[in-house]
Each structure stands twice: as C-alpha cells, then as structure tokens.
C-alpha cells in the first residue's frame, strides 16, 4: 500500500524582516502517513506545522526534500485532485451563502451542476448546516465557519483530508462535533492529517502522532507506542483520618474539610495506605492511578529540546 503522504528531508527557509535575514523554518522533516489512518501533527506555536502543510499543498516551494501524495509528486493539479484542505482560521468569501459557496468550490473541481447540487446538500447535512444553507457566510459564527470550511474540504470526496487546527477556537460542544466528523472520515476509509495543540483531542482520535519542535520531527509513532501504560503516580482521597497519619507514606499531603488528598509516587505504597485506612476505620473516597498522557510526552519533548 502506498503512503497517503510521504515527506523526506523537507527544508524551507524564509527571508524575514526589514533587512532580510534567512530563517530556517523546516530543518529536514521526514514522515509518512499511512492510508486510512488519522495522523496528528503536534507542535508548539511556530514549530513549522502550517509551513509543512503549505509545502504539501504546493502553496510554498520547499528548498529541499521530496513530498509525495499517494505516490505522486506533490504540487501538480493531479495530486491535489484527491485532496481536501481546511486552513487555520478560515476566512471565505463572506458575501456568498453557504450553498453558493459550496457550489463555487464544486465548479473548481469541474463537477457537473447535478453532482454539485447533490454533494452540497449532503455535505450541509453532514456538518449540520442545512438550515443555514441560504445564509450569507458573514452572518456565521466561528463554529459555523469551521463547519462550512470542513464541508468545502470535502466537496471532491477526497481520499486525503488535511486540516490545520480544525479544533482551534471552538467551544467544547463544537470540538466534539468536529471530532466526531473526523472519526467518521476514518470509517469511510479517508486518511486524515491534522495539526493541533489541543492534546486531549489528538489523544482521543489519532492513530499516529508526530511531534515537531523547532522545524524538526522529534518523536513519531503509533499513539499506543508513545504513550506507555506506566503509572506515573496514584491520587487518593481519604476521609476520617488526620493528615499526620500518612506522614512518610504519601508524597504530598493536603487536607481540606476533613478530607486528605494524597499523591503516591510508588505503586507498592498504595496497598500499605489502603491497609492503614481500613485498620483505622477511615474511608477511601477516590483512588485514581495517573498513567502517562500525550501531554506529558509533549511537555517532556518540547522542554527537553
């Protein structure tokens, strides 16, 4: 199976400033996105996420390196035929209605009137904007714009969907809706490549992850390989016992309203504490082991480089 996206040693510098000075944004990015997976591209602001995407789309010409989309060299109109793209903070022609807007993009793919009409209807339904079909885009809220942007990216029924910060600036409900749509893409066999810095979202839906820092991919792999099942520490809330009782057992102890919150670093200590609580007739209110999250890896990677 060919990779949906294969990037090898991608480099790009920009001349910036009043007195132009070369600034290297991408310092040799290599990654591959398998067909049919959801790929999360993570990185702090200014790491080069959007620049990578723009190189893939052919909006920016790379200085060095190769990019292939389904085995074809990128940048050709042919390679873009099977591609859908949602930019960050999308701004569209705000004087068009949602239906006119999608029809226009259908025309760009040379779809026929009938086909465009059908797809427009289906997509408006998919993103939940049926009732706003006749509304001008300028009257749209941020979330609605994001959804019409998503519909626009899908007008050609693409095999590969590239989304730049699709969950940025949305409320929790909006984020969930977009997330659900992305998961639906995968069920339809589409490949999704998206950037984000909202880590929980990536953790929830991605198969593969690459972390980019300062123009370099510093970590990449399957999500389950990156995030270990290792328990970092255990949090326990206990009532009916004074905080002094846990001296020497828990790492940090804080007491509030008759409840004691413990952070236990060593796993074998958990049983000791449970035994102690039982013996002194206390009550365990909560017990939760904290495993390593993507956020931990991200923070560790970013601060480590």
């Amino acid at each position: 199976m060919t990779d949906a996206i294969r990037i090898e040693n991608l480099k790009k510098s920009f001349r910036l400033g009043f007195i132009p000075k070369m600034k290297e944004i991408l310092k040799g990015i290599s990654l591959s996105v398998k067909e049919g997976e959801i790929f999360g591209y993570l990185g702090p602001n200014g790491a080069g996420k959007t620049t990578t995407i723009k190189c893939v789309l052919g909006l920016i010409y790379p200085d060095a390196g190769t990019i292939e989309i389904f085995g074809q060299p990128h940048g050709t109109a042919r390679a873009r035929q099977a591609l859908g793209f949602l930019p960050e903070n999308p701004y569209f022609y705000d004087y068009l209605t949602a239906r006119e807007f999608l029809t226009f993009y259908g025309d760009l793919f040379g779809l026929g009137r009938k086909e465009t009409g059908e797809r427009t209807g289906r997509l408006l339904k998919l993103v939940g904007l049926e009732r706003a079909a006749g509304l001008q885009l300028r009257k749209f809220s941020r979330g609605m714009l994001q959804r019409i942007g998503l519909a626009q990216a899908l007008i050609n029924d693409p095999k590969l969907v590239i989304l730049d910060e699709p969950l940025g600036g949305l409320d929790p409900l909006g984020r969930k809706e977009i997330r659900d749509i992305i998961v639906r893409f995968k069920q339809e066999g589409k490949t999704v490549f998206f950037t984000s810095h909202i880590l929980q979202d990536i953790e929830m839906i991605c198969d593969h992850v690459a972390i980019i820092v300062g123009g370099r991919v510093v970590k990449q792999g399957a999500l389950q390989d990156l995030v270990s099942e290792k328990v970092l520490f255990t949090e326990m809330t206990v009532s009916g016992l004074p905080p002094e009782a846990f001296r020497g057992l828990g790492e940090s102890v804080s007491a509030q309203g008759g409840r004691v919150l413990l952070k236990i670093l060593e796993e074998n200590r958990v049983d000791d504490i449970l035994a102690l609580v039982r013996e002194r007739k206390g009550k365990v209110i909560s017990l939760s082991p904290r495993t390593e999250t993507l956020e931990d890896i991200f923070v560790e990677t970013v601060t480590g480089t």
């Binding site: 909006l59 793209f85 903070n89 226009f104 760009l108 040379g110 626009q152």
Partner: protein
C-alpha cells in the same frame, strides 16, 4: 470551467465594491456636466459634449480598473482565501486569468452604463444616435483591459496603495510616451537615438487607443491604424498577463 468559476466570483465581489459606484456616480456627474460646459461655449456645443463625455468615460474607467484591479488579488492573498483555492486542482495561471476576466466583465458593464448616459445625453442634442462614438468607446475599453492586466500584475506582488500608484504611473507614461516617438524622429542616428528607441519599444503607448479627436471632429481614420491599435492592445495585454503568471507562479504564500 474553472476560469469562469473564478471570473464569476470576481465579478460578484467587484460589483459589491462601493468605490465602483462612487466612481460611476462621479462619471455620470462629469458626463452630464458637459451639458453645462456646452452652454458656456461659443461655437460647436455638441463637440464639447462629445469631448468631455468621452474623456470622462476614459478617466473614470481607468480609475475603476486601477482601484478594483489592485485590491482584488491582494485581498485574496491578505485574507487567505487563496489558500483554499490553490489547494484545489487549480493552476495559478487559471486563477490569474479568472481574476482578469472577472474584472474585465465588471469594467465592460461599467463602460456600457457610462456610454448609455453619454449617448442618451448626446441624443437630446443631435436627435440621432451617434454610432461613431462607439468606435472611440471600444478603444477606451481596450485600454481599460490593458490597464486591468497591469493592475493585477502589480498587485500580485505589492500592496494595493503601491500597486495603484504604479498602475496610474503606467497610464500616465503611456499617454505621454508619444513624445518619445516624436523625439526619435528629430534625433540623429547614434547612441542617444538607439536608447530612445529601446525605451519606446518597452514603454506603453496608450495614445494608440485614443480615437477621441478623430471621432469628435469626424476625421477619417485608415483601417490599418484600427487594426494596429487592436493588435497592440491584445498583445500588450497578453504580455503583461504572461509576466503576471510568471511572477505569481514563483510566489510562496506564507
């Protein structure tokens, strides 16, 4: 198909531009004012109406071409609408040609509207439809087409204010460069004359499109001149568009 889609959207956007209507309003005022000027004139009043009317169509047409031409392409880049467009299977050349055709269509509608006012006013003076005026107007339109291409060229790499200044300078130079032609005729052969000829080759000569005097005074024009001016307009526009596409294709859209 793709080009017409872009052209359609450009036309739709251009006709929402308030500047266009403001300029149209002033053009209409200028054309109608020619009537007042005619009253103040001793001699052939109709000639004044024709003169001022055609000049108004030309001047306001140029302003429309420059002001919308320079803002529309820049706006696409500035507001980042171009990202989604160019991520579709659309060539950059198709984008430029679509923009160009959309603007030309806008200017065509505007020229027709201004001409209508002009011809109706003229009709009330002469009580006949002056079809010869259409010849002058057609060549004014050809000049507007060229200036639109120039405006798009500058706006593909510069800001609207700078592009407007460049495009207006282009128009001004184009209307004065005939002086260079005159100079070449009077110069002796040598380095100076070669230099003048070199400049004249590249500088636009927009007086080629100026048939106002001939039409107003009813002077005969040889057919060869019509054809020359027509071809000059077409080839110069194609040259500028080619240059624009060349610049635009190399651009990074950060």
């Amino acid at each position: 198909m793709k080009i017409t889609a872009i052209a359609g959207i450009t036309f739709k956007e251009a006709k929402r531009d308030r500047i266009l209507y403001l300029l149209f309003f002033f053009a209409a005022v200028a054309i109608i004012t020619s009537r007042v000027l005619a009253i103040l004139t001793v001699g052939d009043r109709v000639k004044i109406i024709k003169d001022v009317g055609l000049a108004s169509i030309s001047i306001f047409g140029v302003l429309m071409a420059v002001l919308i031409g320079t803002s529309l392409v820049y706006k696409e880049i500035d507001k980042k609408t171009i990202f989604t467009l160019l991520s579709k299977p659309l060539h950059r050349a198709q984008f430029i040609l679509g923009k160009f055709l959309g603007l030309v269509l806008t200017l065509f509608v505007m020229t027709v509207l201004m001409s209508l006012i002009f011809l109706v006013l003229l009709y009330f003076h002469t009580f006949k439809v002056e079809w010869t005026m259409l010849v002058a107007i057609a060549y004014i339109f050809l000049e507007l087409v060229l200036i639109t291409a120039v405006a798009i060229f500058f706006s593909s790499f510069s800001t609207p204010i700078l592009s407007s200044i460049f495009s207006l300078a282009f128009t001004l130079i184009g209307h004065l460069s005939w002086g260079l032609e005159l100079l070449i005729k009077k110069m002796r052969a040598g380095a100076g004359r070669s230099a003048a000829q070199f400049f004249y080759l590249f500088l636009p000569d927009l007086e080629n499109f100026n048939f106002k005097t001939e039409v107003v005074h009813g002077l005969p024009i040889p057919a060869g001149i019509y054809l020359y001016s027509f071809l000059y307009g077409i080839f110069y526009t194609a040259f500028i568009l080619g240059l624009t596409i060349l610049v635009f294709r190399r651009r990074d859209f950060i």
